[in-house]
Amino acid sequence: MILMYHKIDLQSPTMWCVDVDTFWRQMEQLTRYDVVPLRDYDPDNPRHAVITFDGVYENVYHYALPVLRWFGYPFELFVIGDLIGRDNRFDQAVEPPAIFANRDQLQACVRAGGRLQWHSRTHSDLASLGDDDLRRELLVPDEIRVLDPDGFRWFAYPHGNVEGRVVELVQLMFDGAVACDRSALVDHYQLSRVTVTNATSFAKSTVSLIIANYNYGRFAAEAIESALAQTVAPKEIVFIDDCSQDNSLEVASRYKEKMKIVRNDRNLGIVDNFNKAVSLTTGDYICFLGADNRFRSDYVERCQRLLDQHPEVGIVYTDMVLFGPRAEVLALRVGAEALPSADRMFVWRCPDFTEESARRLASSNFIHGSSMYRREAFVQAGGYTKSHLPEDHQLFFRMIQKGWKALRCPERLLEYRQHSTDQANTQLNCALELAHAHQEIKALVEENLRLKATLNGIYASFSWEVLDVCRRVKGRLAPEGSVRRTFYLWIVHAVRLVSYEGRKRFIKKVTDKVIKLVCPQVTTVKERNPVRWNVTGTVNQHPTVEVVIVTWNSSASIRLCLESVRASDYPIDKIVVRVVDNHSADGTIRLVEEMKGQLPSIEIIQNSGNVGFGRGVNEGLARATAKYVLLLNPDAELRSDCLRKLVECALLTEGEGFGAWEARQQPFEHPKLYDPVTLDTEWVSGACCLLLRVAFERVGGFDPNIFLYAEDVDLSWRLRETGYRLHYVPKAVVVHHTYSDEGAIKPTQFTNSVISNGILRHKYGSLRNMAMWYLRFAKLLISPPNVPSSRSALLKGGVLASGKIFKTLVGRFSSRASVYHVIPRFKGWDYEVRRVGAFYRIKACKEMPLVSVIIRTMERPSHLREALQSVRNQTYPNLEVIVVDDGAVKFRKVLQEFADLVIQFIDPEEHLGRCRAGNVGLKRAKGKYVNFLDDDDLLFADHVETLVGELEANGECAAAYSTGFQVETEWKSFDPLQYEEGDYEVLHQQPFDRSLLKTQNYIPINCMMFSRVLYERHGGFDEALPMLEDWDLWNRYAEHTDFIFIPKTTCLYRVPKSLKRAAQRQQALDEAYPVVMRKFSPNHYLDSVRHSCPGR
C-alpha cells in the first residue's frame, strides 16, 4: 500500500491535514509493515508500505520529519516545482493558507531519508494542456534536480487525474507514477494510493485492558490514570470490582465516561473474577492491571507491537519497577537493583525466554500477572483455573505447554507496588481525589448561580404570586389521593393546556386594561435645578417647635425620650412638649408629670381609650399654634443636635416647597428610598419627623380610619398630592428602639400593617393592587407566620378592616379623588422602593480617618454636579474629593458651587481614558481609604460612614463593599439635566467569594472602598484594558486580602434604559470580558479561543 499525506500540523482543520499525534501513531502502526522506498515497492506484497507526501508543505518538514527520523522510515516527497518556498494561493478557496517547503528544507528532508519526486510544475489540470505545455509541466528543471540527484524518477498526477495522453508521456519520462485511490488497478504508471486522514488506522489487532480491583480504592485512581494515559490507547478499558467494601466504586465512577465499570454482586475470588472479566472483553490481546499498580505510558504500545510482530508468541512480559514502602524487602529477595537517585525504587529484570528458562517456569514464575497475552492462547489453555499454584503462573505455564512462546520486553513497563495493608502510601491518591473534588465544586457553584437566577425570575413573576395561593389551597384542601385531589388535577391540566406565556399575556392584558381605567399612568421626568441645592450654612433663627408624643403604656421609654428632648442643643424655651396619652395603664402619665420639673412646657392630653396613633396626633396638633411640629415616638431618643439640624434644614429648604423633614433612625435606618442628590423622599416615617403645621392642616391630618402603621405613608402621599415635597435629613439622627433584635416580628405590628396596607391599597391603588391584597391576605390565612395566635388576630382584623375598606372606597369614588398625580407603589406589605439591608447596624468608628472620593468625569458638568452633591450629603465628616476631568473642555467652574468641600481638581492636558484617569486620581489621593465614584453614579448619604465603620472595625481586611441599585436611566437633556428612570434593582448581593470573583464582577465600582495601602503595594488599574478595569483590580487585590461584604444598599449606578444603548454597552462588555478573563481566570480559556495560560 502507498500512503498519501498532504499536511501534518498541530491541529487538523481539514481532512487534508493529519495532526501530529495521529501521524505519530500511524507511523507506530507501520512498524508491523516493511516501509520501503517506491523504487523497491512490490504492489503484490501485502507487507510493503510506502509513505508519500504531496505538495510538499513546510509543516511536513517541521512536524513529520522528526517523527519519520525517529522511526527510521524512508519517504517520498512529490514537489510542485514552481511552488517551492511559496504559498498555496492556488487552492485557498477550499483550504486554509499554508506555505510550501523551501529548498533548504527539502534538502534537509533528503538528508533524513527522503526522496524528492515530481508532482508537475504548477499543479494544473494536465489533460487540458497542449503538448508543449504538457511537456513543460513534466520536465524537471536542473536547478531543482540538483536538490536530489537520485530523485525525480517518479511522478504523481496533479488532482489524481489519469488521462491516456498524459500517462503515455509520463511513461517516457519517469520510472513510475502514482495516482489516487484506484483500488483495482495494478499498473506501474497508475499505482493506487490510500488517502490518509485522521481517521485512518493501520492497526492489526486490538487490546483489552482490565483493571482488577478488590478494596484498592485508595490506590485505584493512580492505576486508572496510568491506563488512560497510554501513548497508544487500548481499544477498551474494563474496571472490574470484585464486590469491594471500600470507596473503590466512587473513585472509579469519576472515570465512567472513559472506561467500562463492572461490579460483582458478590465476591467471586480471583479465578472466577478474572475469567468473568476476560469474557466481558473483545480485544485480540488481553492484559490485567492490579488496581494497586501502574503501567508506564508505553506499556500497551510496546507489548502490542511485539505480539503483532511475532505471531508465534502468546505472551509478552516485561521488566518492572518495585516501589512502595516494602519494595526493598522484595528487592532483596529477588535481587532487584536500586534505581539510581530514586527513593526506594528497584528495577527487577526478568530473564529472557529460552528453552532453559522455559523449563524453570514449571517451578518458579518470572512472567508477571500483568503480561499481555493472546485471547487465542487463553482459550486454548482453558482460562484461569483453581490450583495450588498462583492463577497467572498456572495459565502461562499451560499456554507454553500448548506450544506458545513467551517474549520478554526488556523495558520496565510495569510499576509494581509493595505495600502492607496498614501502611499505605495513599497521599498521591488523596491528592487526585482532591483535584477531582475541586473540579466538581467549580461546576456546582456555576450551576447553583444559574439556578438561583432562574428561581428569582420565577418568584418575581405575577403568575407565581397568583398561583402561590392555589398551591397553598391545594396543600390544605386536596391531600394526596382524595377525590378532591383528582378534581383539582383536572383543573390544573386544563390550565396547563394554555401555554405559560399565553397565561402571562392574558393576565397582563386584563390587569393593564383595568389599571388604565382606574389609574391612568403618568410618566414623570426628573428635572434638576441645581441652583436650589446651593443652600448650605447655618441659620441663626430658632422658631418655636411643638413636640407631639403619643403614648400608650410607654413607661419603659418615655422618660429617656423626654430627657433627650430636654438635652437638645436647641433653646429650651423654644420647645413645647405635648404628650397625648391613649389611656395607658402602666403609669406613663405619672412619669411624664415627674418630668415637668425639667421641661416646664409639658402639656398632657388624656384620652379615655386607645384611639390609635393618627387620631392622637390629630388631637395634639389641633391645639398647636407654632409653625413647626415635631412628631416623636415615645420609644425614640433624639441625638442632641437632631432637632437643631431638622429646623435648620427646614428653614433653608422651606422655600423649595418642602412640607416635612424626617430624621435618620438608628441603629436601623428605615430602608426606604430617597434621592441622594435632593434628599427628596416618597414618604416620611412618623417616628421622628418635623412637619409644617400649615401643610398638615391643609391635608386634614392623619386618616382616623388607620389605627397604627402606614398612617404616615398615607399622610405623606396626601402631602405630595397637595404639592408638598418631603425631605430626608440624614445628618439629623434619632435613636429608635423599635426592634429588640434584627428582623424581629412584633405581633401588633404584623396585623396592623396588614390591615393598613389593605386600606391604603383601596384608597390609592389600582384594581390589581387591591386584588393582590386579597390574594396575599388569603395566603397569610392559609399559612400564617410563626407568631402566636396570628390567624385569629388576622381574622378579627379582617372583619374590622372590611368596614374601613368599604368606607374608604365610598370616600374615594364620591370625592372624585380616584385619579392621583402621585403614583403610589406597593411592594408586598410595604411601600415604594426599599434599599437592601433594613437591619444592618452601622459600626461607629472612634477615629475619623480621611477618605478620598475619586470622581472621573468628562464633559458632563451636570452629572458631575449631581455626583458632588451626593458627596456633600455624606454624613461622614472627613472627606476629600479628587475630580479628574478628562474631557477636552474643562469644567472647573462647577467646583465653585461646592466651596464647602475639599476638592482637588485635575485637568490633564491629553485625553487619558478611564484607566489612566483612575490611576492619576489614585496617585493624588491622600486618604486612608479610597472610593471611586463615576460622574453619573451617586452615593447615598451614609455610604462612606457605613464602609469606613466596617473597615475600621475589621483591621485585617483592607477593602469593603456594599450593594448598589442598578437604575435604568435615559438621559433626556444634559442642560438642564433631565432624565427618565426605570426600576431600581439590586443585582448583586454576593458575599465575598474569591473564586467566583474570577468569573463575574459582583462589585460595582462605587460600592467598593479600599485601603490606599493596597494601591501602593499592588498598583492601580491595568491601563491596557478598555473596560472592566475595576473587575481586574478587585481580582488583583483579592489575591492579598479578603473583602468585607456589607449587605446594605448605599449607592446607585446607572445603566442605559433604551434597548439600543443597552445592547451597545453589552457588546462592549462582551468584548472586554475575554481580555480580562485571560489575565486572571485561564480556566475559561475554553470559552474564548486564542488563549494562553499561567504556569509557564
Binding site: V20, D21, P66, W70, L339, R412, N1083, C1093
Partner: protein, 177 residues
C-alpha cells in the same frame, strides 16, 4: 481550540512578568516544590523548555543551564538577569530537532508548556524531541496545570505530586529515562 500564534504571545509578553509570577505565593510554591524534587544536584547540563523570563530557570542547579522560549520579548528580559551560568535563547520546542546541534542533557525541565493551546496535538512529537536530547539515566521534570495536561511520558516516574496552584490543581512529575 486554536493554538496561540507567536504574534499573540509576543504581544502578551510586551510587558514584564505578565502572569505575575514574581510575587504570587502560588508560583513561589510551585518553584520551591520543583527545586526540592530534583533528585540530584547539581547537574552538569540542564535545559529549560519554555523558560519565559527565567522565573524557574535562574534557580536551576547546573554547571550549564540553557533556557529556551518562543517569545523573543521574554528571552530579552531573561537575558537581563545576572546569572552567568544560564544561557537564554529564543527557540520553539519544535525548532530543536532542525536547528540545533548540541550535546545531550542530564536534566530537562518543562513548566507550563505542554498545553493544547500551545502545542495542539503534538504530545508524542514533544516526547520524541525531548527523548533525542536527554541522556539515558537523565531526569525529566514537568510542572503543569493538571486539568489541561493529560499526557504521561513513557519514562519511569520517580515522583508525582499534586497541589493547589492559583485556582487549579498542579501536577509535578519527575521522570528518569
Amino acid at each position: 481550540m486554536a493554538v496561540q500564534s507567536k504574534g499573540d504571545l509576543e504581544h502578551f509578553y510586551e510587558r514584564p512578568d505578565p502572569w505575575g509570577y514574581e510575587d504570587n505565593p502560588g508560583d513561589l510554591n510551585r518553584r520551591a516544590r520543583l527545586l526540592a524534587a530534583l533528585p540530584e544536584k547539581p547537574y552538569a547540563r540542564v535545559l529549560d523548555i519554555g523558560c519565559g523570563e527565567g522565573f524557574v530557570t535562574s534557580r536551576l542547579p547546573g554547571d550549564l543551564v540553557v533556557g529556551i522560549d518562543l517569545s523573543a520579548n521574554a528571552v530579552a528580559r531573561a537575558k537581563s538577569r545576572s546569572e552567568s551560568h544560564v544561557t537564554y535563547m529564543q527557540r520553539s520546542l519544535f525548532d530543536l530537532p532542525h536547528a540545533w546541534r548540541t550535546e545531550l542533557f542530564d536534566l530537562i525541565v518543562v513548566t507550563g508548556v505542554l498545553y493544547p493551546q500551545y502545542i495542539g496535538r503534538a504530545y508524542l512529537l514533544a516526547f520524541t524531541i525531548i527523548d533525542n536530547l536527554l541522556k539515558v539515566g537523565g531526569h525529566l521534570v514537568c510542572s503543569h496545570i493538571f486539568d489541561w495536561y493529560k499526557f504521561r511520558f513513557p519514562y519511569t516516574t520517580l515522583t508525582r505530586e499534586y497541589y493547589r496552584y492559583r485556582d487549579y490543581t498542579h501536577v509535578l512529575e519527575v521522570y528518569v529515562k
